[in-house]
Each structure stands twice: as structure tokens, then as C-alpha cells.
């Protein structure tokens, strides 16, 4: 038997489907015993990746698709968000985006450029592939304690 369960959801690259994908992911994450806070992190990180595909991957008329794949292990979830639109250079982009710092003058604050940073901060492992579109791989581990609690809940 495979050591994990695989669930996939495919949605049109449109804003109205980001919430549906987020709902599906949070439903899945709760099945393997993530804490409330960790599920909130997973919701944000995956929404950021899906939102990027909605906003940057395709031209308006394209009508592209986003594939969200989730591999569920007893102690972790791997989420893959893939589009087949424009590529971009992840390492180069990372230099230009990221958190704000205190010294910045308000009038020069960026409006945006937090998505990739949030994904990297909220997930335990992140990889980005950019060939024929963009694929973001992200992993989050269930806290030790939670795994035990969860096993208890299931067996009781």
C-alpha cells in the first residue's frame, strides 16, 4: 500500500475558486490532526500559491486551470499548486519581495509582494519549479504531540 493518500482538485484560474480550494484543503488538513493554527497557516500558504496562479499565470482570455494536489501522510501534508501559464524566476523574484522593514518610508511601501514570502514562512519546506508554468511544492509537518492526540481520538 502507498504510504499516503492523494487528493487532487482542479479549478479554473479565477478568483471565485480560491475559496473552494481553500475549503477542501482545510477539510483535508483537519483529517490528519493539524492544530487549528496550523490549518490557518496551511489555508493562507495554499491560498497565496493559488492566488498567484490566478493573478500571474494566464492572460485574461486564456481560461487556464490550476491543479492542487495534496499528499496526506500520517504526520505531514504535501501540497502542490501547479499552473501551465507564464513562468518566472523564483530566486530572482525572492530578492525583490519579502517582509517590510521598520525603516521604510510609508509612501514607498510596496502594495503586494508578500505572497511567496508568506508561503516560505508559514510552511516547513517549500520548492518552486518553473518550467511550463509554475509549480509550488510545500510541506507542513503535524506537531509531535498532535499526532499522538489524533491517534488517541481515532481509537477511542
Amino acid at each position: 500500500m502507498k504510504p499516503f493518500d492523494y487528493v487532487e482538485i482542479r479549478v479554473p484560474a479565477k478568483p471565485q475558486y480560491v475559496g473552494v480550494a481553500r475549503l477542501t484543503i482545510s477539510g483535508l488538513a483537519s483529517r490528519i490532526g493539524f492544530t487549528y493554527d496550523d490549518i490557518e497557516d496551511l489555508k493562507i500558504a495554499s491560498s497565496e500559491a493559488i492566488t498567484n496562479a490566478v493573478q500571474h499565470a494566464y492572460n485574461e482570455a486564456d481560461g487556464g486551470e490550476i491543479v492542487v494536489g495534496c499528499a496526506l501522510y500520517p504526520d505531514k501534508i504535501e501540497i502542490m499548486v501547479a499552473d501551465h501559464g507564464k513562468s518566472f524566476n523564483f530566486e530572482e523574484t525572492k530578492e525583490k519581495v519579502g517582509p517590510y522593514n521598520e525603516q521604510q518610508e510609508v509612501q514607498f511601501l510596496r502594495e503586494g509582494g508578500l505572497g511567496l514570502y508568506l508561503i516560505e514562512t508559514l510552511m516547513d519546506e517549500v520548492k518552486v519549479h518553473h518550467q511550463e508554468g509554475v509549480t509550488v511544492f510545500m510541506t507542513k509537518y503535524v506537531e509531535e504531540k498532535r499526532v499522538e492526540d489524533n491517534v488517541e481520538n481515532i481509537s477511542s
Binding site: 478568483p15 471565485q16 480560491v18 475559496g19 473552494v20 481553500r22 475549503l23 493554527d37 490557518e40 489555508k43 493562507i44 491560498s47 497565496e48 492566488t51 490566478v54 493573478q55 517582509p99 517590510y100 522593514n101 521598520e102 521604510q104 510609508v106 509612501q107 511601501l109 510596496r110 502594495e111 503586494g112 508578500l114 505572497g115 514570502y117 508568506l118 514562512t121 508559514l122
Partner: protein, 130 residues
């Protein structure tokens, strides 16, 4: 429960097109109550509401986020834009009613140090004053 109420409750339950923005403008003060989920679908609604505000010199604005159940970078972007606009007019923006989770989002992104944020931590505060 009426059909509509049930419907609304359901819609909220599944987190779809779930945003509410109520503005109260009075002289130099603006208070905005924001509720629901702020994501790529709903952030434009928030942006539209906030840009509808007539900006005044030295304005005091409060964004009450106590009913926000979900927010990501799309919401941060809208709030930063509003903050910049008010700031350009020498005004002040205060964010109130943030849950610990929401506060964390501002802190991680560095906005916690830049903006005036009031957390909704009644319980913890009580403990401190005892």
C-alpha cells in the same frame, strides 16, 4: 430561521463571497467595520469601499477587524494602500480588534512595526492587571 438567513449562514459556513464592510464617516473620523474573509475574491470589494472614502487632511481612521475570519496578502495589500493614502494626507490609521492570529500575520510581514495595531486581547489584559 428564514430561508434567507439559513442561506446566509450557509454561505458563511462555506466561506464564499463572504465579506462585509460598514463605513461610518463623521467630520475628520472614519470608522470601518470589516467582517468575513478577505481573499483575492473579496479584497477588491474592500478596496472599492475604502477608496470611496473622501480623504481629508489629518484624518483619523480606524479599521475594526474583529469579525475578520480569514485574511491573506490580498487583504494586506488593500490595507497598506489605504494606509499610504491616509498617511499622504498626514492622517492616522489604527487597526483594532485583531485576533492573535491576525496580529501574527501583520507581525510576520513586518507591518506590525509600521502600523498602529490594537489587539483584541481582553482576557490576557485582565490577567495582567490582576
Amino acid at each position: 430561521m428564514s430561508e434567507y438567513k439559513k442561506w446566509k449562514k450557509f454561505m458563511n459556513g462555506v466561506y464564499l463571497m463572504n465579506i462585509e464592510v460598514v463605513l461610518k464617516e463623521e467630520e475628520n473620523f472614519l470608522k470601518a467595520f470589516i467582517g468575513g474573509e478577505i481573499d483575492v475574491l473579496t479584497a477588491p470589494i474592500l478596496r472599492e469601499k475604502l477608496t470611496s472614502v473622501q480623504l481629508k487632511e489629518g484624518m483619523h481612521a480606524e479599521l475594526n477587524l474583529s469579525d475578520v475570519s480569514y485574511m491573506d496578502s490580498t487583504g494586506l495589500g488593500v490595507i497598506v494602500a489605504f494606509f499610504k493614502n491616509i498617511n499622504a494626507k498626514n492622517g492616522h490609521v489604527k487597526l483594532t480588534g485583531l485576533s492573535a492570529r491576525l496580529k501574527r500575520l501583520f507581525d510576520i510581514t513586518g507591518l506590525g512595526e509600521i502600523m498602529d495595531i490594537e489587539t483584541d486581547v481582553k482576557v490576557e489584559k485582565n490577567y495582567e492587571t490582576i
